[in-house]
Symmetry: C2
């Protein structure tokens, strides 16, 4: 077992499970904090601001502040700022995404935007989708915060942002740039925010298809913890295995 200088840590399924806490994960983060090891929570959730996510974590007894949380909305904004700092944007999304774009100083334009940015929007309308389609057909850059097709809720699996995004990609026959896990942009931006070297940083998560594949795609070491969606049976069938596999984060020495 290698020593790591920093950790990128998934949230749902890793730090908590829906509305249920995972005590071993809470203890693990306490150990990181005590030893002064840098970490960042990395989430595909674009709807909440980092403050709102930190509040939610506090409610499970996990100490967290705004600066400990890296959402795919932040990754989207950092990516845009680095590559297209002056672009005008038509945004479909909730508070986490619109706030992040506004705070970074991006201009919004509904009629002739240079970029379309879409995140989960539970107030989606035909008019919003039509505006996005017209802009993309008109050559606008097309960015989607994440490709998650389903969103776990108490009522069952609801349509995720990847499914809503498909209205635009199918209609315009244009693929978006996806930012969130398993894509590399969020990893690159999160690592930059964390500040530790890639080969000294570990990506921890419960979901093989998003968390672990994000690490593998970005060529980082990965730790799959069996407290969430990916079971041992599912993991066995995967060609590319995580660097480490644990039943619980209680077994991980810091």
């Amino acid at each position: 077992m290698k020593n790591y200088d920093g950790y990128l840590i998934d949230l749902d399924g890793t730090m908590y499970r829906g509305t249920e806490s995972i005590p071993d994960a809470i203890e693990f983060v306490k150990r990181l904090k005590q030893k002064g090891v840098p970490y960042l929570f990395v989430t595909n959730n674009s709807s909440k601001t980092p403050e709102q996510v930190a509040d939610y974590l506090n409610h499970f007894g996990i100490e967290a502040e705004k600066k400990d949380v890296f959402t795919t909305s932040l990754a989207t904004v950092e990516y845009l700022y680095a590559n297209h700092p002056e672009t005008s944007i038509y945004v479909i999304g909730e508070e986490g995404l619109t706030t992040a774009l506004r705070e970074k100083g991006f201009k919004f334009d509904e009629q002739n935007p240079e970029a379309v940015v879409i995140g989960i929007d539970r107030e989606i309308t035909y008019d919003k989708l039509a505006k996005a389609c017209l802009a993309v057909r008109n050559g606008a850059l097309f960015i989607s915060t994440n490709g998650d097709v389903a969103l776990p809720t108490e009522k069952g699996l609801m349509p995720g942002n990847g499914a809503i995004t498909s209205v635009i990609s199918v209609s315009t026959q244009t693929d978006p740039i996806f930012i969130g896990k398993p894509y590399s942009i969020i990893m690159e931006q999160a690592l930059k925010a964390l500040g530790t070297p890639k080969d000294k940083t570990l990506m921890i998560g419960d979901n093989y298809d998003t968390d672990i594949m994000a690490g593998i795609n970005f060529e980082m070491d990965t730790l799959l913890v069996h407290t969430g969606v990916t079971t041992k049976e599912i993991l066995e069938e995967k060609k590319r295995q995580p660097t480490y596999v644990l039943d619980t984060l209680a077994h991980w020495m810091v």
Copy 2:
């Protein structure tokens, strides 16, 4: 040139172009009427009732009544009635689809439907899409009136029903049964409504990918008329050619 006992005729691009009339097409239909040759207008538009479509045709000087119009909503309802007459339905769609289902006596159920039926709905909401996803995941039959990805309007190409349908198919990883052109179900139902034998009926349309492919898939003779979307250049590249190609319906003898 073979003699045909009956005709299936596309509307937009064939009988009119947007808000513009096509005089040669109007004359063609007059000749059919005078000679007593049966015909049926076949449209992928699910939003309007046959009465509304007939009114729209009258406005171009095309004589048409309710009975002359076969919409994909009618095809959907006939298909359901033939195969699942007792099924309860969660419907997403506009007046043409909901009216057709109601008139045939189908029961609606938002919570535990046995079938989900989707047609273009410009009042689409996340809640409607979520209900459809939950039902499809729960095993409901999944039917979509048509797979058109774009809808031509004065403002440009808007998202079509095929694009909206992809939210459900991508999220649930379940393919729908598509009813409209180029799929065969609408052709089968339209031919049944027209009442002429398949090998004595001609499918006429301007769009290779929908109208002509519908005829080819259903193994009917086809006539492509260059008054709409498919140009000669596009047609040249197609492997499977229509039975006949004309610049205008003025040249077709009845």
